[in-house]
Symmetry: C2
Subunit: 355 residues, 2 copies
């Protein structure tokens, strides 16, 4: 191993690379990781120096608080390679700020810009061969933080580990997505942690999603837990509904994640004159629109799939098929967003950051 000592981040290089063993044409999302990972520990009230080292399992105590009390947050991001072999990040500051908002809500320490942003740049620069050119190719980036302090008393940990791991990804195609509108299970509580990208928000969705799968649906559209009358999110994505030529998406709240794809799509729609409303879509409104033909599209928006069109939904055991339309807003704004991300269109918003 070659030890490189920069001023801010120690780098311990892997002796060899796994890259030649990877079939980049056939990648399962999130299952292959690059040669290195970034690790930065928090103890005695402060962050230690980050280190980039070979990707490998690490030792942790069975009583670590993350296992018992769920102090765990993450972000999802992507790096893209353009035709000139330059590597780009998409709005990393947004992920950085949201990560720290999640940290506060989960009583975890905020990370510094040096650790999060410089850490990202340093490890992605080291792994730039893993970022492949071409439509739909990207390097999925997973910054996360877990409570590693030991002890089974239910209070916040005093020790944490921040890590960045990287996974090469192809374009994420979920197939035809049919959804069920939730009328019993919920994703988030008023005054809960739904707006945080906290691990605990996800595991709670698995069982209701499994029930939906068993009925032939791929995802659940979550509704407000108190009345189940308002659409909130679609699976792990924000949700957009198009009625006639207006796009509508739920406003962010303490139950709804402030999605970066969501806000970018809103900006593109506004720039290009697509009418967009940030307000609650009522289930009743959706049903009326489905019946009278004004419901044109529903889609999820998130980092992994960018935009995930929904072909139909079930509500109270009645199935509603969405029309097949030309001039899909979903396709149009997905295309515009990904062209910015791959540097094939002008970045009028100043979203892209070069590594």
């Amino acid at each position: 191993m070659i030890l490189k000592n920069t001023s801010e981040i120690d780098i311990v290089r892997a002796n060899s690379t796994k890259i030649n063993d990877v079939d980049f044409e056939n990648l399962t999302f999130g299952s292959v990781f690059t040669d290195h990972m970034l690790v930065c520990d928090f103890k005695d009230g402060k962050w230690e120096k980050p280190v980039i080292k070979p990707y490998e399992p690490f030792l942790i105590d069975p009583s670590a608080k993350v296992f018992h009390y769920g102090q765990a947050i993450f972000e999802g991001m992507k790096a893209y390679k353009d035709e000139n072999d330059d590597v780009w990040l998409f709005r990393p500051d947004e992920n950085f700020h949201r990560f720290n908002k999640s940290a506060i809500r989960m009583a975890m320490p905020e990370v510094t810009e040096e650790i999060f942003i410089d850490g990202l740049k340093t490890i992605i620069d080291l792994e730039r061969d893993w970022v492949k050119k071409g439509d739909g190719n990207s390097l999925y980036i997973r910054p996360f933080m877990i409570a590693i302090g030991s002890g089974v008393i239910a209070n916040p940990s005093t020790q944490y580990r921040f890590m960045i791991i990287l996974s090469p990804a192809r374009s994420y195609f979920a197939g035809e997505v049919k959804v069920i509108i939730a009328d019993h299970y919920s994703r988030a509580a008023n005054g809960g942690i739904g707006a945080a990208k906290a691990a605990g928000n996800y595991a709670g969705q698995f069982y209701p999603t499994k029930l939906a799968n068993e009925k032939g649906f791929q995802q659940v559209i979550w509704t407000d837990d108190a009345t189940h009358t308002k659409l909130e999110e679609a699976g792990t994505m924000n949700v957009f509904v198009r009625i006639n030529d207006t796009l509508i998406t739920a406003p962010i709240s303490d139950r709804i994640l402030d999605g970066i794809t969501r806000k970018s799509l809103i900006d593109i729609a506004k720039r290009d004159g697509i009418k967009i409303e940030e307000r609650s879509v009522l289930v009743d409104e959706l049903l009326t629109a489905a019946k009278n033909g004004s419901l044109k599209e529903i889609f999820g928006a998130g980092t992994a799939a960018v935009v995930s069109p929904i072909v139909g939904f079930s509500c109270q055991d009645v199935y509603y098929e969405l029309p097949k339309i030309e001039n899909s807003f979903a396709n149009d704004i997905k295309d515009k967003l990904t062209k910015i991300q791959y540097k094939q269109a002008e970045d009028t918003f100043g979203w892209m950051v070069k590594i």
Copy 2:
């Protein structure tokens, strides 16, 4: 190490014991662990043979699902030693069944009775020297399960680890407990995971509890997330309110944990002619009772502290002090329950199981 191969559980004994280094008179709750732990892995659709081995950190992949999606559940239990040096468990079947209910809700595999119950008996038998006699002494038991499968795609893991770790405990005294009635933050959603003993339910409480601590209060009494008008739980415990001579506790629901201490206290109250109602206590009702003097007691109920009396509460920034009373129901039923647990009173319910 001596390898003992039973038919059901492999035992790898520690070469030495830490027991002589432990100051049993001065234990911080949940911070010291015994010499051994039980580990049982689930993969390829089935549970492997459990093994009891020296307590130590273990290796885990950075992409393990527990870190990213929060599939993690646990139980809290205690073992007690009576005057004849026999060691007893309290209602272990209740923990076993609740653990599997939690597993289902979090899309995790159920464990078998052989793994959970026989595992408990075998490891506690091995560690019986760690169970100390005397009032308030116990061995706190933490069975838990985490998702150890790797991969950062948001779906259920295919690999899990069930573990049992043990921590000697003294009587848990929280000091004078003043609480705030939640009017913004919440613990659980309708149709959420509040009834599961899932890790994610706990981390979400830390920040609101920290805010309460900063105002001089030790805990939060959670209310329903939709209206904040009904009392639900106190910190990580179930909550009981005594108005005149009636005890009232919220009914179990998908927002409220089916506490084993809670149900045992209800059974004792019923046996001994204390009037008990399982219904929602309204915040308004609490305030009226506090003002007219009919509010006599509020207390939390849970495994760690058994019963935790509350001396006062704040609601909408007004502080209400509870009266100092003789003939406290909290003290009375705590005393009755702990006498059963320490085999100092007849176990009329058949709750105790000998190791």
